[in-house]
Subunit: 371 residues, 2 copies
């Protein structure tokens, strides 16, 4: 029996909602946070550990995997799932964001984007069609349309032209996607910090029609309030019966605030990257494990957490590992932080199911922000 | 009921033997390889994983833990077992080897060794008494006497004086050790590459009397044949009913050859350090995962291995991780290599029990060395 792939809306409380994504490699309960596996691995962690921390779906980066080891190699080895030994769903981005943020000199044309590899300086030309070819080769469950992510700040006129190009590219992506019925292609709404352009982009992208919609180009430097305002004005313009994905966001507060505004999916390198920098998330806000105050602190990172790290190690030990330059520190911090993020999302889902998300949000924010 | 701590000889085949060490934190089947946990962690791995790969006992380094985070801090936090969440036996070295090999300017006197920290250049003076104090604070199951490890080559006259000083230091260690009945103190035989001095050192150290004996100062640059010759002449001078520990050794071949010559215990950073450098051990010898030949190799690191890494990942994936600079590569290589070393020792024990170690050794060496 072939399951129908896509999103199912389950519960609502205000704009917050729970749902279920049925994908080729399994189901995903939303709202969900997706750990980022840039180069075919969520940094420092094994697939086994990702399941332990509760990951239902992870990200792969098209830009990085295209450059190294190459999508043709991954296709020959059975696709990204087989290559990385991860049998649950994977979402791949389009490569667009990295082309703009990571690579050397890039030049945008109507056809696509010229860029230079951050690894060896080699020249490449990424188009909507190539992005689809790469993502088809990787075999992700959810593919993303190739878009232009404009920086902040950017002029209204520039963003308007960019929105129109992103729409044309989205159409080319839908055309080029070798739909096997196993890979869903999501569209991306752009428009910077301009509500009118966000609305226009949402209208155009909806018109093309996708099984899910992302909001891109936020959390790129604009004030938080602007991000929340854009969500409030843009989310209602997206179809209720489709999944909504806020790309590259964010802090635990951003996640709760995003859910409050109707978002179903999030991804961010923060729990892993900041973990590698010594930041550990707790219900009372983040702490910096390098701090001398933790030198003899016998408490686990988060006393209420039941992850492997919190069940076995003290802050004093984690601080020692970090100060001594031990790689185990980076692992343990990343593991706990992802467990924290995914536990937060489980609590969020449970609260929405029980129609008490409004209270959950208030209590979470008060405690996390120490107010 | 209090168990009597110490060594029990179980089976013999030629000079090879199996035995059992009963220690405060559990029993250890010998011959055994001990993973090295320099700074309170076996690099990149968790205690849970160390059990998965079959570690029965691990090492801790007195020099490193004394400098950072400090033995008093570890004592206040419950000792090294509690601090690092490892509940099986730990052996700590004396700090002697590191003082000579890692630290800046050092000066040896009859009283002890002046040295400078490799971390901050601070001045320290390590004596037999301080080494005992540190190891008592760490709470290891097996402590090592503070010795001088002479470099290779060294003059006969210098080594002779060093052997006599090491004996006097061994006596001071035995005197200073706060024997609680839970920590065994092993003596160390030195004598460089001179059989007469090894014999004299063995005689003197036996005369002091310890529950176990180590052979130190080998694998420091001398030819392999000299190491094996020294083992052949020295091991028979050690009491048969006590454990014999060959310090800082070695390759898989060294382990088999050491067991063949009567050694019960080994430690070495090779499986972890070389793993971090891309070397993976297989029954057909080591391979360098960075090699382009592995770019599309679908085989696991060692097809006959049943460790987590070999059950889940291809050489192609491990090569990709390594080339991409992913920390997961260092973890997976270390994990597999330790599993390989500990599986080798399990096979060695089984072969001795079944009186077929001679054939095992021949077959292992032929295959591993490709002959």
């Amino acid at each position: 029996m072939t399951q129908v792939l896509g999103f199912e809306l389950l519960n609502e409380e205000g704009r917050a909602r729970t749902g279920r994504l049925t994908l080729a490699h399994g189901q995903v309960e939303t709202p969900i946070f997706m750990p980022v596996g840039t180069q075919g691995t969520v940094k420092t962690l094994t697939p086994h550990e990702l399941k332990e921390v509760g990951a239902q779906i992870i990200l792969g980066n098209t830009y990085h995997l295209y450059l190294r080891p190459g999508h043709d190699l991954i296709r020959r080895l059975g696709g990204l799932h087989a290559f990385s030994s991860w049998d649950r769903p994977i979402l791949t981005d389009s490569g667009g964001f990295q082309v703009f943020s990571h690579s050397g000199l890039n030049k945008i044309t109507e056809e696509g984007v010229f860029f230079r590899s951050h690894i060896d300086g080699s020249h490449h030309f990424l188009t909507p069609e190539l992005s689809m070819e790469i993502q088809n080769a990787l075999g992700s469950d959810i593919m993303m349309a190739f878009d232009e992510c404009v920086p902040y700040p950017a002029e209204h006129g520039y963003v308007m032209h960019s929105v129109e190009r992103t729409t044309r590219w989205a159409g080319r992506c839908k055309e080029a996607h070798k739909a096997t019925g196993r890979q869903l292609l999501f569209g991306i709404v752009q428009g910077g910090v301009y509500p009118d352009l966000r609305a226009e982009s949402a209208r155009q992208i909806r018109e093309i029609g996708f099984p899910g919609y992302a909001i891109g180009g936020l959390s790129v430097g604009e004030p938080k309030e602007i991000m929340y305002d854009i969500l409030e004005s843009t989310v209602p313009l997206l179809p209720k019966e489709k999944a909504r994905y806020l790309m590259g966001v964010g802090t635990p507060v951003d996640l709760v605030e995003g859910v409050y505004r109707g978002i179903d999916m999030f991804d961010c390198v923060m729990p892993t990257r900041n973990g590698r920098n010594g930041m550990i998330f707790t219900w009372d806000g983040p702490l910096n494990i390098k701090n001398a105050a933790f030198a003899e602190d016998r408490r686990p990172p988060e006393p209420e957490c039941s992850c492997y790290v919190c069940r076995n190690f003290s802050r004093a030990y984690l601080r020692h590992l970090y100060k001594a330059g031990e790689l185990l520190a980076l692992r343990l911090n990343s593991y706990h932080n992802l467990y924290f993020y995914l536990t937060l999302m489980e609590k969020v889902r449970q609260a929405i199911r029980e129609k008490r998300f409004e209270a959950f949000r208030r209590d979470f924010l008060a405690r996390y922000q120490g107010r």
